[in-house]
């Protein structure tokens, strides 16, 4: 098992793996604690890691960051490496900043800071370079040991709607400011001009400023820790360990793939619409197992669409990485995971768009990508299968002005049920598979914004039936306490429910409704809405999907059915159709 040409003994390797992960974890923790906006501080929509000096490949990633960033950050660092090479090469003391979704990004809200870490000896980085797949080793990068990067979801980056989930966008320019890789620090000096430009383009400049500082704090700390580690163990040993860890991840992934039967399986799932044209969009996968390699072919997927549910190629790869990590959770999180995987993503599909196609709702599409991977795997190895989770983040923004003129923007993502699996029922009210986010406490939301929750509860009958039942989604009903507000919603799964696996049933669809002067309204695009107007006392109601079921419903033990009924998880007479607002009579119009 131990490569004979390795200069890292197995014990040092084990120690270094732990130490490197600790560095990335501590960068995560630093940003979470000092960030301003709750999407980072509470929902942990951020990530940190160490990346290859030449290829940008992920070397080490923090454990508590957002899973989707694990795969995508390599593309981000690569974009900076390329830009730096065109501008005289990486320089000591430089830190790059950008959010370009087509060049290693996700959507405009995610701002990346990338910093090269220089070491006086270039031996180790050359050694790393010679082992990378990329061979375009630039001479100027010889002194870069690796890159450190930080990504975080900022509260508001301009564009047509507060919070930047604009379901009506047809170009990225309606989604927010787009910043290509530029230098935030030159030779260690903060470029205040850049900060001023960023601040001027946000509805919430204080929040932006606080988050930016938190990300700088995280990079400073990571760089300090990395130098300490390199000084202690020597650059060569650490570089060799990083190569070794990657090879081991690749080997383990190959072993896991080899255990699957050879052949091709196919799966499809659909997005309701793109927010502009109310037609479904197909995400299709043909998954081929060839001994110890996987081919993931998305050729049958829909072409690029007008609205913001397109994603860039790098985002597609990152989503597949997340899906595979959920299936093979014991494979370590580094670039080795993807080595035995080949991707086929047609250039004209909605899974590989370029500027200026809108990508703001990327979360919905990558959740569907994870679903089709789960559906395909369930056909290959039922014991490893998990049914589809609720599959939509339901980004809801409510905003208005207080009596004193002060602007407020409440922006949050909501939860739903997890899919059932071979060992039991799905988790009730979990977070999305692409994230490890927690939801802000409703008391914090009520204290910060002029809203009152009428209910915050589990949604009976929302889990898919099966030998094991899908987890339950939730019902959130939010009443406005100020005179007037506007609302925006970006959701999915309004028409196509989360599917079960191994003959398990589907979950309930997403349902959204809101009170108007003339009664209850529902959005024309099902779960996507712009410019909803609310008056004092009116409420919005989100009923989120559960997870899909696992196995034949006929096999569900009677005692579990009785328990479901006793606890009210399943009501005999209830339907899974969206129900109307169930607010108290005196509060409804």
């Amino acid at each position: 098992m131990i490569k004979t040409d390795s200069i890292v003994d197995p014990v040092t390797l084990a120690v270094l793996r732990g130490r490197l992960e600790q560095i990335a974890d501590e960068m995560d923790a630093t940003l979470f604690r000092s960030a301003f906006n709750p999407i980072i501080a509470e929902a942990h929509d951020a990530s940190h890691g160490l990346y290859d000096a030449v290829s940008g490949d992920t070397l080490v990633q923090g454990k508590s960051g957002l899973p989707i960033f694990v795969g995508v950050m390599a593309f981000a660092v690569r974009a900076v490496i390329k830009k730096a090479a065109d501008n005289g090469g990486p320089q000591q003391g430089d830190t790059w900043i950008f959010n370009d979704p087509y060049d290693g990004g996700t959507h405009l809200s995610d701002f990346r800071l990338v910093r090269p870490v220089f070491r006086s000896s270039s031996k180790a980085s050359q050694q790393l370079a010679s082992n990378s797949e990329t061979t375009s080793a630039d001479e100027a990068s010889a002194d870069v040991f690796c890159y450190l990067a930080s990504v975080g979801h900022w509260h508001d980056v301009g564009g047509n709607v507060p919070g930047n989930y604009n379901p009506a966008a047809t170009e990225c320019f309606q989604e927010g400011m787009l910043i290509p890789p530029v230098r935030l620090f030159r030779h260690g000096e903060l470029q205040q001009d850049i900060v001023d430009i960023l601040s001027a383009n946000s509805r919430l400049p204080n929040s932006l400023y606080g988050d930016l500082n938190g990300q700088i704090n995280a990079l400073d700390l990571g760089e300090r820790r990395l130098h300490e580690l390199l000084d202690e163990y020597g650059d060569e040993i650490v570089a060799a360990a990083l190569i070794e860890l990657r090879e081991r991840a690749a080997n383990l992934m190959q072993a896991r793939i080899s255990a699957l039967p050879n052949g091709t399986v196919s799966s499809e799932d659909y997005l309701d619409n793109d927010g502009i044209i109310d037609e479904p969009l197909k995400v299709a996968l043909d998954l081929t197992v060839k001994n110890d390699r996987l081919v993931m072919d998305f050729s049958r997927s829909s072409p690029a669409c007008a609205g913001p549910v397109n994603i860039s190629y790098s985002t597609t790869i990152a989503a597949c990485y997340v899906a595979l990590k959920h299936v093979f959770e014991d494979v370590p999180a580094n670039a080795g995971v993807l080595e035995p995987v080949e991707f086929i993503v047609p250039e004209d599909s909605l899974l590989a768009v370029t500027a200026p196609k809108p990508v703001g709702g990327y979360t919905e599409t990558i959740l569907r990508l994870i679903d089709v991977v789960f559906l395909a795997i369930s056909q290959l190895e039922p014991a490893r299968a998990t049914a589809c989770a609720y599959g939509t983040i339901n980004a809801l923004a409510l905003n208005g002005h207080r009596a004193n003129g002060q602007r407020w923007v409440m922006f949050s993502f909501f939860g739903g049920g997890h899919g059932a699996h071979a060992n039991g029922d799905g988790l009730n009210h979990g977070n999305a598979p692409i994230s490890t986010a927690t939801i802000p406490p409703l008391e914090i939301l009520e204290a910060a914004y002029p809203v009152m929750f009428r209910q915050w509860s589990l949604r009976p009958d929302s889990g898919g039936d099966g030998k094991y039942r899908g987890g339950l989604g939730a019902v959130y009903e939010i009443e406005l306490l100020e005179e007037f507000a506007q609302g925006f919603l970006f959701g999915e799964r309004g028409k196509y429910p989360p599917q079960g696996v191994v003959a398990g049933g589907s979950a309930a669809c997403n349902a959204f409704s809101y009170e108007q002067d003339d009664g209850i309204a529902t959005p024309p695009m099902v779960s996507k809405l712009t410019g909803m107007a609310l008056r004092k006392g009116q409420a919005v109601k989100l009923e989120t999907p559960g997870g899909g079921g696992y196995g034949d419903p006929a096999e569900r033990p009677q005692e579990l059915r009785e328990r479901d009924a006793a606890l009210g998880y399943v009501n005999d007479n209830a339907s899974t159709n969206p129900s109307a607002i169930a607010g108290k009579p005196e509060q409804s119009l």
Binding site: P10, V11, N217, G415, P441, E443, W456
Partner: protein, 714 residues
Amino acid sequence: MNSAGKLVIGVDIGGTFTDVFVHNETSGSVRTAKVPSTPDDPARAFLSGIETVVDDLSTVSTIVHGTTVATNALLENKGAKTGLITTSGFRDVLEMRRRDRPTTWGLRGSYEPVVPRNLRLEVTERTLADGTVREDVDLNKVDLAVDHLLQQGCKACCLFFINGYANDANERAAAERIRARWPNAFVSVATEIVPEIREFERVSTAALNAILQPLVSAYLDNIHSSLRAKGFNGELLIVQSNGGVMSIEMARQLPVRTALSGPAAGVIAAREIAAAAGLPDIVTCDMGGTSFDVSLIEQGEGSLSAQTSIGFGRVIRTPMIEITTIGAGGGSIAHVDADGILKVGPHSAGSNPGPACYGLGNRQPTVTDANLLLGRINPGRPIGVNAGVNAGESGEVAGDRLASGSLDLEAARNAIDTCVAQPLGLEVMAAADAILRVANAHMAGAIRLVSIERGHDPTRFTAMPFGGGGALHTGALIKDVGLRATLVPRYPGITSAMGCVVADLRHDRVQTVNRMLDDCDAVQLAGAFTDVADELQERVLASGVSVEGIERFVELDMLYLGQTHAVSVPLNSFHNNQVGGNTGALTLAEIHQAFDDTYLKTYGRLLEGIAKRVLNYRVIVIGRRPSFNMNSLGLEAQAAVTGTDTPEPLAIRPVWVNGASVQVPVYNRESLGVGSVLKGPALVEQADTTIFVDPGLVGSTDSMGNLLIERDDF
């Protein structure tokens, strides 16, 4: 023991042993005892342990108990059947948690709330975030809910209303109604326990308190009445998770505050021992069979965390001594992972079947097996393995000798050879050494986490091992992490019992403010701090235990507008403010300055022009217990031993050190006089642990019986 004088007794009940520590406050003398625990009726060992060292319980003034009964009940899901009454629309808050999941990867987790959905009932009422009562509570519905829960056989009741932290009028009215109707005292009211914003954390804490109440009350009543029957008429006190002690009445009301009672007592003892030895900066290292717990003490003060979770989704929000636990104990299993990398833990063989060398059926190698094979543990005298027998000078105390036989060296060798040496292509001794290095690296990581990674300079800190296994490893840790030294206390195995005796009385209260600092009225705030402090002080004094002095602290949880994580800002002008003290002196400017000082220290940069918010205030009142003369721990028996620089070893035995077998002297701890100096490598054996002085380190004993291990390069 004829006990003239005022006796204070600490009792710690562990899974295997019950430890007793008796301090005669008049004479300053100390006795200890260790008896096997009696899990079917813990009071039996509690009493028999005390009776081995005290003849007449009527001579005992105070008994302080560190208990794990709440911890175990939580870990084993043994709470009472409990009902929850809550605001209409919110009965699922407890089950929905903060929308998290147990593991990042895999999506195969599950969760059982401690109160099932059919026992969570809603009543009409609503309070808004600003404290406005939008809808009065319907008390008839409260009555109906109570009757339904009783009918369902609930033993305890939990009450939780949304925004009760902002105004608890509705909750108080409902609580009064429930208490009038509920047939016992087991009613837990959320804002009485945690008057703090964040609904899930508040209801989770209250519900866990409720399920623990019947159990913990019965347990404490049993011990209390058993003690009374034997003539004890002093005070029985309980150690809280925050490291202070409280009365038995408080413990009955707030059992959730005892979740970390046992470990907290250990940390308190470590603090006192280290302070007496002139070492105010300590990292405590408690290594048991399955876990390694570390806690940081800086300048004599332990760090507290605001909340912890006992397993997934079981959050307890109450100040607790911050203990970082990793799965690295003597029983932690070493294995080669799927990607070919050696790992130690988190799976553990526990104490049964235990390490391979116990011969009870486990064939996987553990840390203890590696220590045995390398010669660090004496196979014929397996101490420090599953705790010892009888620590302390009361030699007549007889525990069942769990470790009666000798350990099976061959079983350890085979396990390491098969599971680690062969897969990695290493010699078996090198494989055993590798297990220790990986385990040590893992433990070093935990120490780094609480020290370096929180901005503390490790060279200032001394490691203090307690529990059975720590002292074999801490030498390596000081080299790995760069700590100053290791201080092995005289009785590592009974540290928690000693901590009970020295722990201060302590009460904390947190209240949510949630206002912009510039909108606060400093005079009004100061008045509130003083009122709360006065009330807590009364509670401290009412416990009936003598205290030498009272200390009062006020801290504010503050943040920049827009942040959600607060920093804890101490208000120095309130430190030791006395009853009815200077409430008029506080100004907003002082609070601004205090925040800036704290924020700068924490993050290194201030954010100009952004407003500050006060989230909570926290008042802490501590009743300082009379100080304890650590010299009484220097052995009475040892007093006769003349200090010598070069003690005589008990034996010489081969130990694997730095890749080779070395003849290492083995000393008996009891025969080490004050001032003994031991150059590493050396082993020290004692009843409740084994100490390894690594090569390059040197150990010396002080007048309090401690063994201080430092680098030998000075």
